[in-house]
């Protein structure tokens, strides 16, 4: 798999960040400052600034993001975000073949407009993401209906997306024309119920139908060339969540469970009556919130994920002749060795601190930040695949205005 990043990669990464990404973030911050200046104070108006960092042996991601939410007249509100994904990778599995170190910057921007009625909220959002070989548009509409004297909510969302993908070739144009496309439609329905003043449960179903190019144009699969993935995938997920709060100790618990499965929605004759996907997974996540002082709160998160392999996945590292195995004769035209379609198990442990900076009120300079909340988190992500472990670090600040 990928080799560890070197100091040279790190410095080239920092250089590229300094040249482009930082300038763009500065522009976004300027826009945020104008919004702050122009708006009257309101309960839901806020600005969130956050820096997020992901590091594993072959990949580093730095993601600065700004999110601004503002109430508008007549029950409307608007939320917008801008983020940069600066990805430095040495992994052949997730980037250009030849295992070369490269840095890619992905820009993403999104806007969501909401309208509130007495018992109903409707939102409409659009997001756009662009990098040198991948462009993505997403439109999503959502609604929340409050029921049973505001003790329950029924929420839904439905949307669609259109992606275009191209393949960069060394020495050729840095912005090649799109070659492949992917369309997706998705929908979700969630029901939440307040069972008592300290107990909430929620259950729901989500689905997504993908049609088009689902592979990576760079991922090699033995002598076959690059991977070929079935062009259709229908994803399903059922989720259950519960939250309990203990007022006496200031402790809150959350338990999340998610069951996922997918199928091939095309004609059964495509793969001799067999389904090339059949990926299923279980995810369990526990969160514990503990109020430490009136201004400080700790959140601990533990997550376990377990997944079975896609039926057409081939373990070329262990079995070089797996592509010609009789057991996968129905899948002769599709092949991949993508680690995330193999049997995967991951664990994630994280600690996060929230600090309300009210103690800074009245101080020179620092007093400017006293109305907001600072956040700092560190998590470690264990992976059973060749990607190995990863560090996740986040630091952020949210201020109401």
């Amino acid at each position: 798999m990928g080799r560890p990043l070197t100091g040279r990669a790190a410095s080239s990464f920092a250089g590229s960040m300094a040249a482009g990404a930082v300038a763009r973030i500065a522009a976004v911050l300027a826009v945020g400052a104008v919004a702050l200046e122009a708006a009257p104070a309101s309960a839901d108006n806020h600005v969130t600034l956050r820096g997020q960092y992901y590091r594993e042996p072959s990949t580093r991601v730095v993601q600065p993001v700004i999110e601004i939410e503002k109430d508008l007249p007549a029950g409307f509100d608007v939320n917008t975000h801008v983020l940069l994904d600066a990805i430095t990778s040495a992994s052949a599995a997730s980037g250009p073949s030849g295992d070369t170190i490269f840095t890619e910057v992905r820009d993403e921007a999104g806007v969501r407009v909401g309208r509130n009625w007495e018992r109903f909220r409707l939102t409409l959002g659009y997001s756009y993401s662009a990098e040198s070989d991948y462009w993505s548009h997403i439109v999503v509409a959502g609604g929340v209906l409050r029921l049973w004297g505001d003790s329950a909510t029924l929420s839904f969302s439905v949307g669609g997306g259109h992606d275009t993908v191209s393949k960069r070739v060394q020495g050729a144009s840095p912005r090649p024309p799109p070659e492949f496309s992917l369309n997706q439609g998705f929908a979700g329905l969630w029901y939440g119920q307040v069972l008592s003043p300290t107990t909430v449960v929620q259950g729901g179903y989500e689905t997504a139908l993908l049609d088009g190019y689902l592979g990576s144009p760079y991922r090699p699969v033995g002598p076959q060339g690059t991977e070929v993935i079935p062009s259709k995938r229908w994803r399903h997920a059922l989720g259950l969540r519960g939250a309990q709060y203990l007022p006496a100790s200031g402790t809150g618990f959350q338990l999340h469970y998610r069951y996922y499965f997918d199928v091939y929605p095309g004609p059964s004759s495509d793969f001799a009556g067999q389904d090339p996907w059949r990926v299923s997974s279980h995810t369990v996540e526990v969160r514990v919130f503990q109020r430490l002082t009136s201004q400080l709160e700790l959140r601990l998160t533990g997550r376990y994920y377990s997944q079975g392999a896609a039926a057409f996945w081939c373990d070329l590292a262990q079995n070089a002749s797996c592509l010609s195995s009789p057991s996968r004769s129905a899948f002769a035209n599709v092949f991949t060795s993508d680690p995330k379609l193999s049997p995967v198990s991951t664990k994630f442990l994280e600690g996060k601190l929230y600090w309300d900076a009210i103690a800074w009120r009245g101080l020179e300079f620092f007093g400017w930040f006293s109305a907001g909340t600072f956040e700092l988190s560190y998590g470690y992500y264990w992976q059973s695949t060749s990607y190995q472990g990863a560090h996740l670090l986040q630091a952020g600040y949210t201020i109401p205005y």
Binding site: V65, D163, D275, R287, T346
Partner: protein
């Protein structure tokens, strides 16, 4: 096995599961009378009681884990970054 029949069975199972879950929680809601009064909602507004209290963080985690796990829905998020499926 015929693909159409298999898909139909899958849909039927999903529908039954969602219907059972919806009935159970609705029954729980109906059983709770009177509903939670405004002055009893103090704890419900806390961070620990909200499942979507931090969309920015959720967005980052979904994108990071989605590039390493095969069952992310890519739900309402632009693609790209790593892998496409």
């Amino acid at each position: 096995m015929d693909f159409g029949r298999r898909l139909l069975r899958l849909l039927r199972r999903s529908f039954v599961a969602v219907a059972v879950a919806a009935t159970a929680v609705t029954a729980a809601g109906c059983a709770h009378r009177p509903p939670i009064e405004p002055w009893q909602r103090e704890h419900l507004a806390k961070r620990a009681m909200r499942f979507d209290s931090d969309p920015v963080e959720m967005h980052f985690r979904q994108h990071s884990f989605g590039a390493r796990e095969g069952s992310d829905l890519g739900y309402g998020q632009p693609g790209g970054g790593c892998g496409c499926n």
